[in-house]
């Protein structure tokens, strides 16, 4: 028998605004992404000093994931079987460019380890997993655009096969200050919004 799954909560970060389940939790006009995400980090009271060492994509994904997972009030002492299935278009291109700049010229060849470690998009999944003790299934897909159908099928499969108790899914894109967006949602056996492609698209486009 197929189990019903629901979208229990969801978060958006875009256009200088952070919202949880459709309610704005932080909004400010900042001159750049770095200032905006720092303001959002302080506003939602996420205490995690390593945040400031992350690249922009990881900061975006980490904060979005943290807001959703904190709303679940998970025990920090226990492991949680929450799978992470993320996607975007630009992969880790912003950090890849920074790394490329640091190795562009032979006479000024100083690759930064702190930049280099973020030259894969799925590192942001690791940052969330470390904080929330998620030793779970994870995947990061690259698509031309938000692919609700794929995310829906993948999350449903993980839950149906008992690979995870819940799945944190969505889109985290960062390709410069003018092009950032996070939309993450938690798929759970409990909730009010039915987990299907139409509802995912509706929440994403709201």
């Amino acid at each position: 028998m197929t189990k019903n799954n629901y979208i229990k909560s969801y978060v958006h970060i875009k256009n200088n605004t952070v919202s949880l389940n459709g309610t704005v939790v932080y909004n400010d006009i900042e001159p750049d992404f770095k200032s905006f995400i720092k303001g959002a980090y302080k506003a939602v009271d996420t205490k995690y000093p390593k945040f400031f060492k992350m690249d922009s994509l990881s900061k975006l994904a980490f904060l979005a994931g943290d807001i959703v997972l904190n709303s679940e009030q998970l025990s920090i002492e226990e492991e949680h079987n929450i799978a992470l299935v993320f996607s975007n278009k630009a992969s880790s291109l912003d950090t890849d460019r920074k790394h490329q700049e640091s190795i562009q010229y032979k006479e000024n060849y100083y690759p930064s380890p702190a930049v280099f470690v973020y030259t894969l998009p799925n590192i942001c999944i690791g940052e969330i997993s470390i904080k929330h003790k998620l030793y779970s299934e994870n995947s990061f897909f690259i698509f031309d655009s938000f692919n609700a159908a794929h995310l829906e099928v993948y999350a449903t499969s993980l839950l149906a096969d008992d690979k995870a108790d819940k799945v944190l899914c969505g889109w985290v894109e960062y390709d410069g200050d003018d092009s950032y967006e996070a939309f993450l949602y938690l798929v759970s056996p409990e909730g009010k919004i039915t987990h299907n492609k139409e509802e995912i698209i509706k929440l994403y486009t709201n």
């Binding site: 000093p49 060492k53 690759p111 380890p113 702190a114």
Partner: protein, 85 residues
């Protein structure tokens, strides 16, 4: 030597993104790793790059960093004795 220590503290805060720490909070003899500033292995690699880029000191064995990066005082002494720029 005092200006070098000040410079090192400023560079470490900026290059290692120590957002909530000020120069005044870093003592000359405070341990940089472990219970001190809480730096990690990536920070250690970043400090090795900083030695090369800013002071022309190339560490061929990363294990050397363990003693050189003990504190600001130790770092400053090592840089003064070995800098090529």
């Amino acid at each position: 030597m005092e200006s070098l220590k000040q410079e090192l503290k400023e560079n470490i805060i900026e290059q290692l993104n120590l957002e909530d720490i000020s120069v005044a909070e870093i003592g000359d003899n405070d341990p940089l790793f472990g219970d001190g500033l809480g730096l990690d292995s990536i920070d250690a690699l970043e400090l090795i790059v900083m030695l090369d880029k800013d002071y022309g000191i190339k560490l061929t064995d990363p294990k050397e960093g363990k003693t050189i990066f003990e504190s600001i005082e130790v770092m400053a002494n090592y840089i003064s004795a070995n800098r090529t720029k």
